[in-house]
């Protein structure tokens, strides 16, 4: 049960550091970025630009997308260099 007004910190304060991770913005998504490792040149533009830190990188390589937090804005697909276009935005309905 979410806390009532008597228990919540006053002034709308968030008193816990780094708790944005608990807020799953993934359910806002209409379009899903699908990463193609065959085309990817690992320039990491998508990783830099993603506003939700949802591009998962390991050892300098894009290894996946955190769909619990990716809100589907499409910035990664837009910033991915034109000559590779390794991220495609696909309608969520395709996955149901």
């Amino acid at each position: 049960m979410t806390k009532g007004w008597k228990e919540l910190p006053e002034g709308g304060l968030i008193t816990e550091a780094g708790n944005a991770h608990k807020y799953e913005t993934g359910d806002w998504r209409n379009l899903r970025p699908v990463h193609n490792p065959e085309k990817c040149i690992n320039c990491l533009f998508c990783w830099i630009y993603c506003p939700d830190s949802a591009i998962i990188v390991k050892d300098g390589k894009v290894v996946g997308i955190d769909y619990a937090h990716c809100k589907g804005c499409g910035i990664c697909a837009r910033e991915c260099p034109d000559r590779v276009k390794a991220i495609e935005m696909v309608d969520e309905s395709e996955f149901e």
């Binding site: 979410t2 806390k3 009532g4 007004w5 919540l8 006053e10 002034g11 709308g12 304060l13 968030i14 008193t15 550091a17």
Partner: protein
Amino acid sequence: MATKELVARTGNEAMAEAMRQINPDVVAAYPITPATEIVQLFSAYVADGLVDTEFVTVESEHSAMSACVGASTAGARVMTGTSSQGLILMAEILYIAAGLRCPIVLAEVNRALSSPINIHCDHSDTMSVRDSGWIQIFSENSQEAYDNMIQAVRIAEHMDVRLPVMVTTDGFIISHGLEAISLLEDKEVQDFIGPYKAAYSLLDVEKPITVGGLDFTDFYFEHRRQTAEAMQNAKKVILDVGREFGEKFGRSYGFFEGYKLEDAEIALVLLGSTAGTARVAVDQLRAAGVKCGLLKLRVFRPFPAAELAEALKHLKAIAVMDRSDSLSTAGGPLFTDVRSALYDLPERPAIVNYIYGLGGRDITVEDLEGIYRELQRISGGGQVQETIQYLGVRE
């Protein structure tokens, strides 16, 4: 008890003097007539090294209140001053200051709002932000302005309250009127307000926090409810602080002050400097055998509805004096609140509303005597002809 002999101070000087003695950490301000002098005098105290305050000059009142909120969330004791257009330019940030529970104290000089442009007293500016979550305390004269500023710090910073407070004077009438007042010693003020203890600080790296986070359908309502509770808590704190101030310095304060009210049959209810004029009218009519009295409201937010009903319930007829017009066509802001406060009484006094003094239009003893005469007629069984009237406007 009050320690010093009387000194001559205008309302602005009295408020600036209180600010010097309070010695806040930060003052961010922008000048505006008739409040300019408060922060101008204060900036001289800063330049002369009489205070330890960081004085932030800004490009507008919107920025002034924004800087105040920033400083307050960082954990500083913060004050500012403004008036009229300046206050309503701050309006957006006034709501934010209250919502973030910043105990900022603001010296506000009541002045009419544009348009047409006017620099003189009415209460339109303060009334326009009455629902912002700020505690609003009105002063009748320089002495009250000084005393209210000092009490405001204690009220705002009380842990059960943590809300901003604006202390108001009437433009030019109080702000520029020279009066004999009694000041406290610097040490007495410091001992009374005590050191500031911030509830939180953005600069505390040991306890990282987020201030001003997004609050959706799931939390916004709860946070607004908390602010309403703080306003409720403020009622007790205002009374406690007013009583303690009286015990220490000989001048006590409550939500309002009655003048010859207990045995009165008719009374005026009003705010600010007009109370002085009304006292003279009451004395003159009392000498002629009229059972009249006065209730001067000091605290407009939170609104002491139950206490007002108790203090007014024995009257036969009341005139509520509004120095601003809501333009709702249903009366001024003080009238609608007072009338609503009386609604649950088993026997309600007759009540009328006078909108007066807009843009600094003078109000005289004769004007007020005329209203008491009308109340006499109503209390004697006469019909209320017009519930809402504009006093002293040319037809």
